[in-house]
Symmetry: C2
Subunit: 146 residues, 2 copies
DNA sequence: CATTTAATTGCAATTGGTTTTCAGTATCGC
DNA sequence: GCGATACTGAAAACCAATTGCAATTAAATG
């Protein structure tokens, strides 16, 4: 039985005249099995543990498809490295990041989300999306510092 | 009479063993006279209208000093280009950006700021800073689209 | 003011993540 | 199968930003 995610991906592929290839299959499977927030480089290294001759460009190209199809979300914390995470079946969330150890906590606050809409509306803007990153020290790194 | 901003800058320079040079003076003055949100490249082009042989690297290096001294704030909207704006005497604010025309509105909402602290606290984090960008369509671009 | 030392400059080369080019190869609808 | 189209890996290109370097300049000291 085909999972729901796979169906969404295959439909997107078909609807856009894209072909399924062994490389894409491998990359998509690896992406879906990898939890958390990771870079293209990291995904590439995991993929290569399985099949060694997958090109880096193919990983980037497939990640683009994953984002476009709604399976992946891409964001960057301001250091020039794009991070990817699962988007299908995952509700919207923002991130709380430890500047010391890099730990990332997924956060969501309906009050903030509502206020964002309201503030945008105050200026006549129609809001499409937003990004919010909170940076600080996680409990563990606070202790280590003290 | 020396302005307060200039004093802060010169003090920072002196306290860190940095020298004042004609190039730095020009770049800082140009920065202070330029309002809004602009890239290093843009600032460089304005600087070169005044003195043609200022190096690009010097602009980047001086912008770094401006950020470190608290005169400038640097952020990027996710497209890989750093934008700079005045920070001295400017209260913290976030940005509302039109994805069509690039218009940027400075926003501030105390409720959001409070909630950010609260959410971080919920996970034991000590919050240091945050970035929030709201993307959408400004009133003008909405009309043009309809 | 001259001297000395450390900082700064412009240029060009380099970096690092990401994208593009290209010639060969594989996929898909028929 | 077959042909049109899409995909691949490798390498080159991109591009904002940084860095190495030799020449120049600021500024602290006497
Ligand atoms: Zn949110
Ligand atoms: Zn996440
Ligand atoms: Zn804010
Ligand atoms: Zn601003």
């Amino acid at each position: 039985m085909k999972s729901s995610v796979e169906k969404v991906f295959l439909d997107y592929m078909h609807d856009n005249g894209l072909s399924m290839t062994p490389q894409r299959k491998l990359i998509v499977e690896t992406f879906l099995e990898t939890e958390g927030h990771f870079s293209a480089e990291t995904l590439w290294s995991i993929v290569r543990e399985r099949v060694s001759d997958v090109g880096q460009a193919t990983v980037y190209r497939t990640l683009k498809i994953l984002v476009d199809s709604g399976l992946a979300d891409c964001f960057d914390l301001g250091d020039g490295v794009s991070l990817y995470e699962h988007a299908y079946g995952h509700e919207h969330h923002d991130h709380l990041v430890c500047m010391q150890c890099g730990a990332k906590v997924e956060i969501f606050d309906q009050t903030i989300e509502n206020r964002q809409e309201e503030v945008a509306g105050r200026f006549g803007f129609e809001l499409t999306r937003h990004r919010m990153y909170l940076f600080g020290l996680c409990p563990k790194c606070q202790k280590e510092k003290a």
